[in-house]
Symmetry: C2
Subunit: 461 residues, 2 copies
Amino acid sequence: VSRDTIEALGDIVGHDGLIVDPALMQPYLSDWRDRFHGRALAVVRPRSTAEVARVVEHCVAAGIAMVPQGGNTGLAAGATPVGLERAVVINTSRMRAVRNIDAAAGTIAVESGCVLSDVQAAARQAGRYFPLSLAAEGSAQIGGLISTNAGGTAVLRYGSMRALVLGLEVVLPDGSVLNGMRTLRKDNAGFDWKQWFIGAEGTLGIVTAAVLRLFPAQHTIRTALFSLPTIEDAMRAFAAVESALGELLVAAEIIPDIAVEMRARFHPSEAFPAPRDGWYLLAEATSALSGLEDQIDAVLLDIVEAGIAKGCTVANNPAQREAIWAWRETITESERRFGTSAKHDVSVPVSAVVPFVEEAGAAVAAAFPSTTVVAFGHAGDGNIHFNVVIPQQESIAAEDVNVLVHRIVAAYGGSITAEHGIGRYRRDELPAHRSEAEMSAMRALKQALDPRGLMNPGAVL
Amino acid sequence: VSRDTIEALGDIVGHDGLIVDPALMQPYLSDWRDRFHGRALAVVRPRSTAEVARVVEHCVAAGIAMVPQGGNTGLAAGATPVGLERAVVINTSRMRAVRNIDAAAGTIAVESGCVLSDVQAAARQAGRYFPLSLAAEGSAQIGGLISTNAGGTAVLRYGSMRALVLGLEVVLPDGSVLNGMRTLRKDNAGFDWKQWFIGAEGTLGIVTAAVLRLFPAQHTIRTALFSLPTIEDAMRAFAAVESALGELLVAAEIIPDIAVEMRARFHPSEAFPAPRDGWYLLAEATSALSGLEDQIDAVLLDIVEAGIAKGCTVANNPAQREAIWAWRETITESERRFGTSAKHDVSVPVSAVVPFVEEAGAAVAAAFPSTTVVAFGHAGDGNIHFNVVIPQQESIAAEDVNVLVHRIVAAYGGSITAEHGIGRYRRDELPAHRSEAEMSAMRALKQALDPRGLMNPGAVL
């Protein structure tokens, strides 16, 4: 690829938007966990949809592959140009305008480079609420969150990102622009093409903007931490809370005591906010209606009085709430002190969470006796982060643990990636978990929209 | 097409499943409102997914077009073989098994011929709740409801059918079967191909089964009818109720007094359950949590005390609730006594409901002074059924009214079909409301999955 060809990209995006210096490119060529590394001819940072379209046209004409990238917080190397010879990274960080906010309609139109926490703040400022929330919200961008159909802690009530997208703007692999920035709650006029791109991990086009749903602000917030002897009790408590609180329930996370133990070892001064037991269930219920605290607490107390949970701590202020959530959010961080983790972002039917965790736990213990299983997460929607901590001195390959765990996931009709996506990391595993007919249907859409295969090649398919 | 070719379909589905007698075929060749009429070589009624696949293979080999049909309650002729020369209707009525119900996971797996009210009943029997609800629920089938991404009265909280589908099984236009009958709440493994078929109106394949989401049973139910001077007041009342009740709000329907007047004329003995005024807002809030009646009523009362509504009637028992809903559900029926209706199933951003109804109402009154506008429906999600009643003696063409109303819809960034779909009825209008890039993307998927164009030709595209 000639130098002129690359320099021409600077003519499109401005020369401050073109990075070719290898040192300056580095942050864009590896993922934030520093597990995947790629290379690129350049990093291109367009400022507008029109610039994205021109960049794509230019790359197509030159036969250069394109890797769309947002906040680069993904966990599956979907935005890292691993193993590509002639590729550029198209990073959307400079496209961060809030195009419009309509509080009455409950919609916000944003460019794909908007950071999630900024969208949350804009919604709050307009007296509304944007519910998507996840650990990387301070840097994850809307385009990437849409392209990976991000999940997080509020999926139980609000669904994944797909459920929050009303309108979409996409630059196709040929540089044409699909403008579907509609702000409608209901629209059945023709195929709903925006669905194709949500969760497609940038392989079908580049998301440049979206219209998102906003919700009423929440006035009642109750966060509870139950202590329970077994995971079975934790899921019984979840079932009881779910059927009694229904739509009020926003989050239901399980935590094994080993995760508490790991954190407590290095933070001895921090008191765990509930009686210690084998498992914990973090349940959060909220409502736009104010004053429901007593009625929610009565339901929580019932779980204890019915003998399902040994105890339950309810947060009475934001600081207590944060203290409870901290024990959930720092699990991955705590694990790191005990070794490297073979991670599994898996889901099973909610009714199979208990047998899955027990069977996979036993299988891992038998095959890799030196490891420690830390299975936690969004149990309310069946999404378990099944992490296997491998002590530093052991030479167990994470891939071998993956194979074992994913086989059991498949046996329960589960998914090997509930919310992180396939990217390049799980690509070779996908065909084992989808029928040939399904793979062929996916390839048919890819071929129809990207016949030259230049849009994020090597990801997903 | 030879007689043998048709008879061979009977070998696949059983000869009681093949209808060739023109008189017996009639109910399948016209829509239930008797507005569209088509013709077919046969009506085929398979009993299983395997039979659907064999029927499709057979039709493809013979070059026969296929029109998938469920309960035949559609309003856009998507399931009526209008204008087709060599076609069969593939009706799924005999595929009505509930394959599985998992109350703990909140999932039900059903065949596409299951009638909606049967799914609701099965959920109820399992202690769960399936929220999709619409006028035709006693005959509409799941396959058709998925293929049209049906809406109804509970979209405000639960979304349209798309939000309720977890898994899907589809027979593709080449007879191969895509089996995605997964029961997962979160799954990001590869493209989510089931989204392509939801709302595609049977043009990309035949939905043969689905896994649907079930919800906790609702224990608090409050149904209110507000009386208000203007539509602006009605939408102000909606905004106040929505921000105070948030996720509890299931339905918010507006009704103009003219609709009450029309019904009252022919049902003089039935008392309207609220003080008469210019407009009415029917709001329904429910919760899995029991005992929220007083808190909800306090919010409703606030609307009256704030002077937004003149009065508010709240149902205190199921009979009163039904009496309120009856005034909403019989509007179309009442209209018929006053003429024929030029109907518009349109949506606009929620914040544009008032200006849209006012502008379109004024435009219709100016252009067609003898008509009466009855604009009602799901105002909470921006979906207005904007019906224009044309007196019997007038020779106004519904199409002329459509053109006028849809032009105003487009100016407000709205949709010409919020929940009924395009079918064959609105097909020629679609290109005026979608960009050429969008039409071309839709055609690309159609071409990729149905290159011979035999699957429901003439619908949507």
